[in-house]
């Protein structure tokens, strides 16, 4: 790949990073906190591409008589077009039920249980509900109407789970936290559908078949489909 082609690839990769960083597309792949670095590196790549083209042009003017310096450029650079195509043309969705079913629940004991607002229904994250249900025996949430958003995953036996992938850095380290659903569960559930589930705490628990981790149940009264949230991952562990 010669320098003009390299500049084009760098420019496109930089522009793709800028686009992903500005449009919120990046939230499908990495944590929210990476946005400034992402934008900065995209800008540097675009700038490098422009500087390369500029120096190439100047050199061509300056050394018209001099014949080429056969400097072999690395062919491995061609591989950089793969993430470019994947990001621009395919833009794969955030990790969903496929990874969630294959990976064990990553529920950890929370450091503390924050005081909850008085609202009804009480909005709660999947991770927060699971933590309170398993490690606090539902003390702070028993008897309240809860509203929880996550996507649907069905294990091999067809058991429905409400899942949120928790993320620390990028999708490669994302791990699911699962809630099993009982009560008025919709009869037909499509994996990867995002649901806002209203329900209440129940003491029933089960074990994740993959890693034997604890999975609390939620007694569902109502479930309605919602669009994918702006940030599909749970990032509470980053704070």
């Amino acid at each position: 790949m010669n320098r003009q082609a390299q500049s084009v690839v760098m420019f496109l990769v930089g522009a793709a990073l800028l686009h992903a960083g500005l449009s919120g597309l990046y939230l499908r792949y990495v944590k929210a906190g990476l946005q400034p670095l992402l934008l900065a590196s995209g800008a540097v790549l675009v700038l490098t591409a422009l500087m390369t083209l500029w120096y190439e042009r100047r050199k061509r003017h300056a050394r018209e008589e001099e014949h080429g310096h056969a400097h072999r450029e690395p062919r491995i650079s061609w591989l950089l077009v793969l993430p470019l195509f994947a990001l621009i043309l395919v833009a794969p969705p955030a990790l969903g039920s496929y990874s969630a079913v294959r990976t064990g629940t990553a529920l950890q004991k929370p450091y503390a249980y924050e005081a909850l607002p008085k609202s009804d229904p009480l909005p709660l994250s999947v991770v927060d509900y699971a933590g309170r249900a398993v490690y606090d025996h539902g003390r702070s949430i028993a008897g309240r109407r809860l509203s929880i958003t996550g996507f649907v995953a069905l294990d091999r036996g067809g058991t429905p789970y409400l899942v949120r992938m928790a993320l620390n850095c990028c999708a490669a380290d994302a791990q699911p936290v699962k809630i099993a659903l009982t009560g008025h569960v919709p009869p037909v559930l499509e994996p990867d559908t995002w649901l806002e589930v209203t329900g209440s705490y129940t003491a029933r628990q089960t074990r994740d078949p993959v890693n034997n981790g604890p999975i609390p149940y939620l007694d569902v009264t109502e479930a309605k489909p919602v669009p994918t949230p702006h940030d599909p991952y749970d990032e509470t562990w980053n704070q």
Partner: protein, 348 residues
């Protein structure tokens, strides 16, 4: 592997005269057709992929492929900012810092320079993608390879950002932070000294850069940035493909069986660290989630990962050459496992 490139650059070589940017008046470098044709090949490739995007999307819509592509893109997007940071730093070192600076800053005896360089790794913020190009620049600036290796291995593991992340991931276990720091520094210095005794300079790829092509410092700086981004970036893609394959295809349940036996557990997490290629800022959280494993096995995961993994191996091959990487990677792996087990036995 997953995305096939439909237009190999080969055929474009034949039509080098008819390329759209073969200027009539200004002769470019013509000795090698490859140089003239790669923009044409790239254009053809872009066109073909844009035209064929429907079938490509269809092929990638199966859950396995979707998950593969997501992890692949995620690893690349996550690593690129740190790679760019490392490349900028490495270009600045290569162009603006005179070699005499390192001669003064580091002790002249290599045996002493190794631990100093190892501790200096603490100042490079970020993960392992940044340290490879910086270590490459240090070698080119005349720093003894043994010291550069100590820096390369210690920087991703002992900088404040990574140690803070480790403390957050193990809130009830401050010993893990200390053990990670101590074991990583120990292994980094051991590798530096080992290189000093056994290493041979001809294993290292001679500096590929032609920095001073008669141009200005600015030209040298941007030339270095361009070369390193394209080069290390290509190898990063190789590593990301390997990591995505493991994450999407390998079953997670075999880990449960491995956790039972302490010896197998250590080995399993060491191999897992190599295969997963997780950024060193995030690996502590993954280690913390492997609850079935002993603290020592988790420490092995934290020490091995930032020093050697698939992505790093690919990038080291690119920066230092294959002869170096093939010897360096197994030695690092063995020493890192031993160092972590020893430290774990003392501190955990």
């Amino acid at each position: 592997m997953a995305i096939t490139r439909p237009a190999p650059p080969g055929p474009a070589r034949t039509d080098k005269r008819s390329g759209p940017d073969a200027p009539a008046g200004g002769p470019g470098p013509e000795r090698d057709g490859w140089h003239l044709t790669s923009p044409v090949a790239l254009t053809v490739l872009l066109l073909v992929v844009v035209v064929a995007q429907g079938p490509i999307r269809g092929a990638l819509s199966a859950p396995v492929m979707q998950s593969w592509t997501t992890v692949f893109v995620a690893v690349v997007v996550q690593a690129l900012p740190f790679l760019v940071l490392g490349v900028l730093l490495s270009a600045a070192i290569a162009v603006f810092v005179p070699p005499s600076f390192f001669a003064r800053a580091l002790p002249s005896r290599p045996a002493l320079a190794v631990p100093v360089a190892g501790v200096a790794g603490a100042v490079l913020p970020g993960c392992e993608c940044a340290s490879v190009p910086v270590a490459g620049a240090l070698v080119r600036r005349g720093v003894t390879p043994a010291a550069a290796i100590a820096f390369l291995l210690s920087a991703p593991a002992i900088n404040p950002i990574v140690l803070t992340a480790t403390a957050v991931a193990f809130p009830r276990d401050p010993g893990m932070v200390l053990a990670r720091f101590a074991a990583s520094l120990l292994v980094a210095c051991a590798m530096g000294w080992l290189w000093q005794r056994l290493g041979r300079t001809d294993w290292l790829r001679p500096p590929a850069h032609a920095f001073h092509e008669g141009g200005s410092k600015g030209e040298a700086f941007w030339g270095s940035v361009r070369h390193d981004v394209m080069h290390a970036g290509g190898f990063l893609v190789v590593g990301a493909m390997a990591a995505a394959t493991l994450k999407a295809v390998a079953p997670a349940s075999w880990l449960r069986t491995a956790a039972g036996n302490p010896f197998v557990a250590v080995l399993a997490l060491a191999v897992l660290a190599v295969l997963l290629s997780i950024c060193s800022e995030a690996d502590a959280f993954v280690a913390a989630s492997l609850t079935q494993f002993s603290p020592t096995a988790k420490l092995v995961f934290l020490v091995v990962g930032p020093m050697i993994d698939l992505k790093l191996f690919a990038m080291q091959t690119g920066t230092f050459g294959r002869r170096f990487a093939l010897r360096f990677a197994p030695a690092t792996f063995v020493l890192a496992v031993l160092g972590a087990v020893l430290t774990g036995a003392v501190l955990l």
